[in-house]
Symmetry: C2
């Protein structure tokens, strides 16, 4: 592979520092466990640094992956919107994280920022784009949490918020369940509309907005007492998380298709999960409210007028 | 939809009787729990009958699905080997079952038999084919079980055994783990080489060989005492089962793509599952032996000469 482009170098520098800073914040938030780091190389080019925390005070499992992958064959999962680039040489780098808390009142969350460069044959300049976003998967319905989360998303993405919020609702959707993965957030891909500097700025803005927004919600919920029933509901809902990641998630499929490190990719899966045939919530319970009012696209900030 | 063809009627009659007979045998083998039945209709045509048992003496979860689905658009997952049939009208009927025992010394198993008819436009006779097979997913390695299982598979499929055994090893393979789902068995698809009567006979032979082969193994292992360590290993290995079914399994994808009933399709997933980051078995343990000697294609019957 040739040396990374100056643009790639800039992104790598940011992501390396960001992983360090974020992991420090997460350890401090957890207060008990620390991250275990595994570096890995990919035979076809590149590698990564996976950091995983388990058995924490707040987090049952938390993973923060950095990867920088190069190859001669961009996999189809990376080019859903750019089929003409399938099979060309590429650089992909990003941070992907998933936090699975113990307490069912604290939501699961995911954040990802990524940068791609692809080099079509017989063309001079590489094609580049950014992607990213964050989304929240609560087990119990708190309107206040969904609103504060989306306020942070709006502040991070500005005028892009309505489009990126809609994209997130559409992306994190389990078609076979007819439900969203959670209350969404923002999602964007194939982004280069503002030129490199400003597009990079948008990605940084999303990355940096994530932690304070999540820490605020975790802080509000982590001391709520829970029992066996709440834990069981959490395990069942985690099943949906697994279904989404393995059946639909383009990031997971890209990782598996591009020969990424399996343990780093599937670190996104929760520790303990349950499936129960045809489970339905009792009407009038918080569990039923989650399905009825939270697992569908919703205008959390009242931007479209009306409540 | 037009009335089912005489061939389809014959297959339906067999499958209905087979589901009843098999469920009776399984209840008797379990000795405690009984099946709960849900009938379902599919808006686009057809439907099914799902029978699920949970909390049994032997089975933590056992499901036996009958489905008979018709439609105007054969999904791509059904026609990997017949791309010219994508999008034509079709009938698909079959039985699919998965048993997840409590005791980690008793293997998980899966069996499926199926019949397809597709009606290409502007052609007179429908195209039809059978598929099926059974495979075994042990948690603990017992050579005797793999051998008796494959002996039953060989008796059921005769001269087809070597090819169908190889097909099974290749089909039930987790590429991202570089391991088979279990010790295999037989698998076949797109089968019509012997004409309808004999092809149907092959399918029946596979269906009928399944239960005695499994009951023999379950009988040998169900009274072995197990502890927390064996249970934990079972939960981790169940994670691989989920990975296979959601990432690779064509039957699962066909069901989800064709608008099948989600709860019936995902009834194949185990109740309780665990993922643990980068878990590795201790060298010299039965768990390590499973990976080293059982989760790869192997000549269980010594047919290729040598041991």
């Amino acid at each position: 592979m040739p040396d990374p482009s100056p643009q790639t170098m800039q992104v790598l520098e940011f992501l390396n520092g960001f992983q360090d800073e974020l992991c420090g914040q997460v350890e401090s938030l957890d207060g008990k466990a620390t991250f275990h780091e595994d570096g890995w190389d990919r035979p076809e080019g590149g590698g990564g640094r996976s950091r995983v925390m388990t058995g924490g005070a707040l987090f049952e499992k938390a993973g923060v992956n950095f990867s920088h992958v190069t190859g001669n064959q961009l996999p189809p999962s990376a080019t859903a919107h750019r089929p003409e680039l399938t099979g060309v040489s590429f650089v992909a780098t990003g941070i992907s994280l998933v936090f699975h808390p113990h307490n069912p009142y604290v939501p699961t969350t995911h954040m990802n920022v990524r940068y791609f460069e692809a080099q079509p044959e017989d063309e001079g300049d590489p094609i580049w784009w950014f992607g990213g976003g964050f989304d929240l998967t609560p087990y119990y319905p708190f309107l206040e949490d969904a609103v504060s989360w989306h306020q942070a998303a709006q502040q991070a993405t500005g005028d892009h918020y309505p489009a990126f919020k809609k994209w997130c609702d559409e992306y994190f959707f389990l078609k076979h369940r007819n439900e969203t993965r959670g209350v969404g957030g923002v999602f964007f891909d194939d982004y280069n509309a503002d030129g490199f500097e400003d597009s990079f700025g948008l990605m940084r803005s999303v990355a940096e907005a994530f932690y304070p927004a999540y820490a605020e919600i975790a802080g509000r919920r982590r001391e709520i007492e829970f029992g066996e029933a709440q834990r069981e509901f959490q395990l069942l809902r985690r099943g949906r998380y697994v279904e989404f990641n393995l059946v639909y998630d383009r990031g997971t499929l890209f990782g598996l298709q591009s020969g990424g490190r399996t343990e780093s990719i599937l670190m996104s899966l929760p520790s303990l999960v349950r499936w129960e045939y045809d489970w339905q919530p009792e009407p009038g319970t918080p569990e039923a409210e989650l399905y009825a009012d939270f697992l569908k696209p919703r205008d959390w900030l009242g931007l479209e007028g009306g409540a």
